[in-house]
Amino acid sequence: MQKNVTIDINGQPHRQAVEPRLLLVHFLREVAGLTGTHIGCETSLCGACTVLLDGRAVKSCTVLAVQADGRSVTTVEGLAQGDKLHALQEGFWEEHGLQCGFCTPGMLMCSHDLLANHPTPTSADIREAINGNVCRCTGYQNIVNAVKNASRKMAKRVSARAGAR
């Protein structure tokens, strides 16, 4: 029996009748057409499918779409503002935080949750935050550098905004 769900994705409501067994990641990719969220292991080990659910990082391969009914989801497509990359995306660009790019959407969303709660994380904090995300290219060091880069940029922008007031 299908269920009607309404999920706010990157600020846009998506209403659809779905089978209760549909996974959130499949809703995002196949119903909403947002293929930035990757399916890696589908067993909640690799973290490639990480999105924000009401602001907190979750593995969307192990969440049912019906569990997200009435809630808001942010995917990697929701980070950039038009042509302007998010500070985290800039950080990954500048510090070579990716090679093949498969894990990157999950790494970005996990790091987003981290920086929202800990704006100035240490390397150990960053490594703890991404411990549920697997990267087979970088060896992680450049990802840690990228998150630090983003953290510095975001701090500068906050203080610039404060100065402008």
Partner: protein, 329 residues
């Protein structure tokens, strides 16, 4: 994943009435981090999923002079981040952080952690909780049992109890509250876990139509409490041995102790032998070692897991020494 009916009650009574009187037909969904994995692999195939996340009474953390109350739906992230828990029950916050990756901590609930199914690879691959071959031989005893039980493994159950926060909750003398068609009941947490003797039983004393409503912990005892896990790698891995200890002191000697091991038996394993060994003793390397020896004295390793006896011994010793030096980091 097979199709199922999805229902979202908003009261405890509704939830109970939607559950089946026997195991198999219905399952309770909270965070779903364990259940959805089992459903994807066809290990459980419920006809109906009862989502309890919309039941307000099951939420929240509150502290009072009577102690700490944690609703069933409290997430592991809540346990790790709550200021009161971090201050008064630091070993619990630490165990919650170590229990899973951040994304899983954001979804997984306390009740789900207590009711999660064993990690035994025979169970997870569809051979059942008490796996046997067609002639009745136990698969685990004859097979690859490197991660299985070293204590309490005389019966057909050879898996290990999977929660890493249960040992520390038991050390804190936690009680679990349940609600079912016959009303409410409360159990010391250690009594909630049972060793199943047949495939129709589960590894906890929750009726098929009961729900966990909350966990309560008495006021912080004047005790030294610590938790220690041994894992193959530093992050995000199932442990090989876990120990939690609570030591009530009288002067510099131990007045009484609670010593609980995880990942060594089909239930969280309390060790009266180790507790006895520490009673009326000072805390030092030598007494910690003696208690650790006592904790594994009755261990009966299987064909491939003798190494776990040493790991359990070390976990108990290090948990005691960690508690002695001030507990959670």
């Amino acid at each position: 994943m097979r199709p199922f009916e999805y229902v979202s009650p908003t009261t405890k009574a509704q939830a109970v009435s939607l559950l089946g009187a026997s195991w198999g037909g219905t399952e309770i969904l909270a965070g779903g981090t364990d259940l959805l994995a089992l459903m994807k692999d066809d290990i459980v195939s419920p006809k109906r999923l009862v989502n309890i996340k919309n039941i307000r009474d099951l939420r929240g953390i509150s502290s009072s002079p009577q102690g700490l109350r944690m609703g069933a739906l409290t997430t592991l992230a809540d346990l790790a981040d709550d200021a009161g828990i971090k201050k008064n029950y630091p070993a619990l916050a630490e165990a919650a952080i170590e229990a899973a990756s951040p994304q899983i901590r954001n979804m997984a609930t306390l009740a789900g952690n207590l009711c999660q199914r064993p990690r035994c690879w025979y169970f997870r691959n569809g051979f059942g909780l008490l796996p046997k071959d067609e002639t009745g031989n136990e698969l685990v005893a004859d097979g690859d049992n490197r991660y299985h039980a070293i204590l309490g493994n005389e019966g057909p159950a050879k898996f290990v109890s999977p929660s890493t926060i249960v040992p520390v909750l038991i050390a804190y003398e936690a009680k679990i509250r349940l609600e079912g068609p016959k009303g409410k009941r409360e159990l010391p947490l250690e009594k909630f876990f049972v060793i199943p003797k047949s495939e129709n039983e589960r590894e906890h004393d929750l009726g098929p139509n009961e729900i966990v409503t909350e966990v309560v912990v008495p006021p912080v005892p004047n005790a030294k409490i610590a938790h220690y896990e041994i894992r193959q790698k530093d992050v995000f891995d199932w442990p090989l041995a876990v120990a939690a200890v609570a030591l009530k002191m009288q002067g510099s000697n131990v007045e009484s102790a609670r010593i609980v091991m995880g990942y060594v038996a089909p239930v969280p394993w309390m060790s009266p032998e180790a507790e006895q060994a520490l009673t009326a003793q000072p805390l030092d390397q030598e007494t910690a070692q003696k208690a650790a020896e006592a904790a594994v004295k009755d261990a009966k390793p299987l064909s491939h897991n003798e190494y776990k006896v040493q790991l359990a011994r070390v976990a108990v010793k290090r948990a005691i020494l960690k508690a002695a030096s001030g507990g959670a980091a």
